[in-house]
């Protein structure tokens, strides 16, 4: 996103805080385009409405884990990170999905899910924070909304969020259905764009570091996934190749100043909170292979 004349814009603040380099074509963007892209993302309430429906679809296919203590802990860690997210209108909610697959999902407005399989392959809270930070970044940057073309043109007959919310006709229901189907397709099949994934990695790492965690959390987690879950990882099309992600993350890490000290891992608290998961049948199986 280019820097415009409205520094109060949430998106611009995000750019300034995170320190993203300006794109080469920033100067090319005219104020009418900048204004369009800055207006729509402020509608967090509408995004949450859509995100809630998408989250319901996710939970229709993968149930939440029946592990209240672990879910409570997840929300504690996630909410701590969300304090630093450039998404002042989002209300973040976190949940553990009862799935062996290694993945995490975010829907617009702040609904974030991590699979039990992913948690079982983490070693500490820094790694969890990095994964949650990555998903928070997807929400903060409106990646889903942008991918679906809902971030602008709110007067669109089929594409605008406002119309999706306000409509009552058959075409409205069809538009919602299509939007949700496309959203699920992005989450489970096609994935975000490479640029969006790498942006989420970068911002997620920054959020974790800002919250006091070690900066290598995501790198360590991805390396472990790549090492022990190569086949599963290759099947997951929602991310760029591990190699590219790791290269980019390590490059970003080199330029990231961590202060004070080396950052926290909070491994003990992490193991205690997720003990119930680690002691489950699935957990035992994975504990044997990866922990």
């Amino acid at each position: 996103m280019c820097q415009g004349n409205k520094p109060v814009s949430a998106l611009v603040v995000m750019v300034m805080v995170i320190g993203l380099a300006a794109r080469a074509d920033c100067g090319r963007q005219r104020i009418n385009v900048i204004a369009k892209e800055q207006e729509a993302p402020a509608d967090w309430q509408t995004e949450a409405w859509f995100g809630r429906k998408l989250a319901a679809r996710i939970l229709g296919s993968i149930p939440l884990c029946d592990c209240p203590a672990a879910n409570r802990y997840l929300n504690l860690v996630g909410s701590g990170l969300a304090l630093y997210a450039p998404a002042p209108g989002a209300v973040f909610t976190f949940g553990i999905l009862d799935s062996e697959k290694v993945n995490a999902y975010a829907t617009p407005g702040g609904y974030i899910f991590v699979t039990k399989g992913a948690i079982l392959r983490m070693r500490n809270e820094a790694e969890l924070a990095a994964v949650l930070g990555h998903e928070i970044a997807h929400v903060s940057c409106h990646h889903m909304v942008k991918s679906l073309g809902l971030n602008r043109h709110q007067d669109s007959a089929v594409g605008g969020m406002a119309v999706l919310v306000g409509g009552t006709t058959g075409s409205f229901r069809q538009a919602i259905s299509q939007g949700l189907e496309k959203g699920l397709e992005i989450l489970f099949d096609t994935g975000y764009s490479r640029k969006q994934e790498l942006e989420a990695d970068r911002i997620g790492m920054q959020l974790a570091v800002t919250a006091g965690y070690r900066k290598d959390g995501l790198v360590n987690f991805l390396k472990r996934i790549h090492g022990f879950e190569a086949s599963a990882a290759e099947d997951d099309r929602s991310h760029p190749t591990w190699k590219v992600r790791l290269q980019q993350l390590e490059a970003s890490m080199d330029g990231l100043h961590q202060d004070p000290g080396p950052g926290q891992t909070r491994e003990e608290r992490f193991n205690e909170a997720f003990a119930q998961l680690f002691d489950s049948d699935i957990g035992d199986e994975h504990n044997r292979s990866s922990r």
Partner: protein
């Protein structure tokens, strides 16, 4: 013996200039200085690399709702009292001149566009009384001329552009080229002593070809963009039909044409000739270098320098265009452009006959665009004027001063999705 005669074919169509219609709304308002911008569907025409930089998928359409061109050959004819009369040709058209759509496709952006870069609909209907002739003591009592020319060039085809890196994009357009020309000219001269000269000339021409355009945009700095395009039209097949009918009862002796004698003192004699040929005249290579400077998100300045190679009877020439755009608000933009449209013919010599006219034209354009969330509407005005020289009388050393004035009002709409 006539005072005038049908000119060669180059005298009818405006082959002598390269900027006959400014295509696209934003580009037209910027005087056509669009090579380094080109980030909307009209980039397909100006620089296909630009469509890779478009902020949205979109389509746009523009049309000249009013275009009037007036060409005046000053003091072309003299009457028996020594008064000089101008020769005036008027052209007016109302046509859609651009439609284009761009859409993300694969790793790049795909475009489809239709453009009409040249359109003339020229009319001349004038009558003159008591015009001097070169037959002593036998002036032309009544001279009537009726010209009805139309000449349009259509381009239609796909474009594709990719971003090679954050600041470099490359694109190409392959237009199908079609030119459709019709020339109708009637002249009747009635001499004081009763003779007459009448000629009817009718011509149709259709050319098919390809016009590839290759473009590049490099943004060495976020406030600066440089663009380069190369374009050339290859005519693959042409069909030219020419038909001439005339009689000249003022002739002192029979006409000998292709070995055949035509004695017009016989009232039954009429000359008629019809030919069909297949010319395939390629158009010259055009290279355009553009630069745009993005002063701020509200203001930009842009400039193009184009060079047109010499080919056949056309001389090498160059043109310059410059424009500026300023956003009064986030939804209203003002645009201003200046451009040249220099002739590709040599300057006239005082000791030659049947020379092509030479008029360098300079124009200005102004436009207002209003944006809503998804759509835009533009209204623009263009004015161009040129002064030069011509020889409208066949086989005569006389040179006329020529003035061209061109006024255009155009309307355009765009929609992004």
């Amino acid at each position: 013996m006539s005072i005038t005669a049908v000119q060669g074919e180059d005298g009818f169509a405006d082959d002598q200039h390269y900027v006959n219609v400014l295509v696209g709304s934003r580009a037209a308002s910027l005087g056509g200085a669009y090579t380094a911008l080109a980030d909307d569907p009209s980039g397909c025409y100006y620089n296909p690399a630009g469509i890779a930089l478009a902020p949205y998928q979109s389509f746009s359409a523009s049309m000249n709702v009013f275009q009037r061109s007036l060409k005046t050959y000053e003091h072309a004819l003299a009457d028996t009292e020594g008064n000089l009369h101008d020769w005036e040709q008027e052209s007016s058209t109302l046509l859609p001149n651009f439609f284009g759509v761009i859409k993300n496709f694969g790793k790049g952006v795909l475009g489809i566009s239709y453009a009409v870069p040249d359109a003339i609909n020229r009319r001349q209907r004038q009558s003159f009384r008591n015009i001097q002739s070169n037959i002593a003591g036998n002036p032309v009592e009544n001279f009537t001329i009726d010209i009805n020319d139309s000449d349009r060039t259509f381009l239609f085809g796909p474009s594709y552009a990719v971003r090679l890196s954050d600041n470099l994009s490359l694109g190409g357009t392959l237009y199908v080229y079609y030119r459709d020309r019709e020339v109708v000219r009637n002249q009747l001269l009635q001499f004081e002593q009763g003779q007459h000269y009448w000629i009817n000339y009718y011509e149709t021409r259709q050319d098919w070809g390809l016009r590839p355009i290759l473009g590049l945009i490099w943004e060495p700095h976020q406030k600066l963009a440089l663009g380069l395009t190369a374009a050339k039209t290859f005519v693959t097949s042409g069909k030219l039909k020419q038909q001439t009918t005339f009689r000249d009862s003022s002739a002192d002796s029979p006409y000998i044409i292709d070995g055949i004698s035509y004695d017009f003192s016989d009232t039954d004699t009429l000359y008629f000739d019809s030919t069909t040929t297949h010319p395939s005249d390629d158009q010259p290579l055009s290279l355009t270098l553009g630069a745009s400077y993005f002063v701020s998100p509200r203001l930009l300045a842009t400039m193009d320098l184009s060079f047109h190679q010499a080919e056949d009877q056309k001389e090498a020439t160059w043109n310059l265009a410059a424009g500026a755009e300023y956003y009064l608000t986030e939804s209203i933009a003002l645009r201003l452009g200046l451009y040249s449209d220099r002739a590709n013919t040599p300057e006239l010599s005082s000791n030659a006959t049947n020379q092509a006219e030479h008029v360098d034209i300079y124009g200005a354009s102004f436009g207002v665009a209003v944006f809503s969330q998804q759509s835009s509407l533009s209204l623009g005005f263009g004015y161009a004027r040129g002064e030069g020289e011509a020889q409208i009388v066949s086989d005569s050393l006389t040179i006329q001063d020529v003035t061209i004035e061109d006024l255009t009002i155009y309307l355009a709409a765009g929609y992004s999705f």
